[in-house]
């Protein structure tokens, strides 16, 4: 019975595979058919066999849809590979040393064009800098404040409660300075882009010569991971471009890894606390569910073990 169902699955898969000309479905079809060729073809088509054939058709449809022709790849951007980030698992924390290095990369490489106006210096305290270090870093920046008692705006040193300084006053100034392209704010970029950390890492390390037949206009650069393939940002990370104070060798991919971790943290700074609280909550709740179930069954026991007698009244 099972082998003939498999044969029906294969038939459904094969029919629909030819219709969609899907590579994956066509590769699967001979394998499924091979599994069932040894069985005899004695049974007439049963209802279960119809369902199996339909399931084969659905599977072929799913395979077909997942192997869309690569004409869309340039428009959507090359799919970024999955990297084993150290903060992926539910029991894993961010690498705070990488956050610290990543902030240095942001300051020295990215802050010239990209703002992070929703991040404040105080958020770095206890994450990658001590309070004194964060205060010192903030004090190196200038902030416009005011008006003072004379009605004038003045500049002062940055304090912990200030936001990160923006390189441009507004979006128009940013566009004007960058040939019409706006370098986006990076505070939430990791959450705001599909497959954020993998995409950002691939983008930063993915600069290469365009393939034959593709030409990029002056002022843009080829990057297959960027939707459309032509990005206004040049390759910014080079080996040794930043010097790390903890002595880590600063290859381009190391810098990319650190800046991606920093941006992932900036987009979701409370991830570590949420994970710890979530684990504690799940443990406590499962214990409480156990007691609730026991108490319910204890109190319902008399009712569940009742004997109900229907007496016929004459």
């Amino acid at each position: 019975m099972r082998t003939s169902l498999l044969r029906s699955l294969g038939k459904g898969l094969g029919l629909c595979a030819e219709a969609t000309s899907s590579r994956v479905a066509q590769q699967t079809m001979p394998a499924v058919a091979a599994m069932s060729t040894s069985a005899s073809d004695a049974e007439p088509t049963s209802k279960a066999a119809h369902y199996a054939a339909a399931l084969g058709g659905v599977m072929a449809g799913i395979f077909g849809a997942s192997c869309v022709a690569s004409a869309n790849e340039a428009a959507d951007g090359l799919h970024a590979p999955h990297y084993p980030w150290g903060h992926e698992g539910v029991l894993d924390s961010y690498d705070h040393a990488a956050i610290r290095r990543g902030h240095k990369v942001y300051q020295q490489v990215c802050a010239a064009c990209h703002s992070m106006q929703y991040l404040h210096w105080r958020q770095l305290v206890g994450v990658c800098y001590t309070e004194e270090e964060a205060k010192a870093l903030a004090a190196e920046t200038e902030v416009e404040d005011g008006p003072n008692d004379e009605g004038e705006m003045f500049t002062r040193e940055g304090r912990l409660f200030d936001a990160f300084p923006s390189p441009y006053a507004n979006e128009q100034a940013a566009r004007y300075a960058n040939g019409g392209a706006y370098p986006p704010d990076l505070t939430l970029i990791s959450g705001g882009r599909h497959n954020g950390p993998n995409y950002i890492f691939s983008l930063l390390t993915g600069y290469r010569d365009p393939p034959a037949g593709i030409s990029i206009r002056e002022g843009l650069y080829y990057n297959p991971y960027f939707p459309g393939g032509a990005i206004a940002m040049p390759k910014m990370l080079v080996d040794g471009g930043v010097e790390y104070e903890d002595g880590t060798p600063a290859s381009a991919s190391q810098q990319a890894k650190d800046i991606t971790t920093f941006l992932a943290w900036a987009s979701y700074p409370y991830q570590d606390e949420m994970r710890v609280m979530g684990i504690k909550a799940c443990l406590m709740i499962s214990i409480l569910i156990g007691f609730a179930a026991y108490s319910k069954r204890l109190r319902w026991a008399p009712i569940k073990s009742q004997r109900i007698v229907m007496d016929v009244v004459n």
Binding site: S93, H96, V127, Y294
Partner: protein
């Protein structure tokens, strides 16, 4: 009289609600502390070297 463990538990903690309910309240407080300690311990052991306390200790 030899009692099974479940029978012993029932007779001491679950039979009378005047014992059951205070047991839940006291048990909730202490199990909360125990879970806090256990999960924090697991987190810091599993993520050794990555946490802020570790990188500050490394620098000094």
């Amino acid at each position: 009289m030899v009692m099974r463990l479940s029978e012993a538990l029932y007779q001491t903690f679950f039979k009378r609600s005047t014992v059951y309910i205070p047991m839940l309240l006291v048990g909730a407080y202490f199990s909360n502390e125990a879970i806090d300690y256990a999960v924090d311990k697991m987190w810091t052991t599993r993520n050794k070297g990555k946490l802020f306390s570790d990188i500050i200790a490394e620098r000094t």
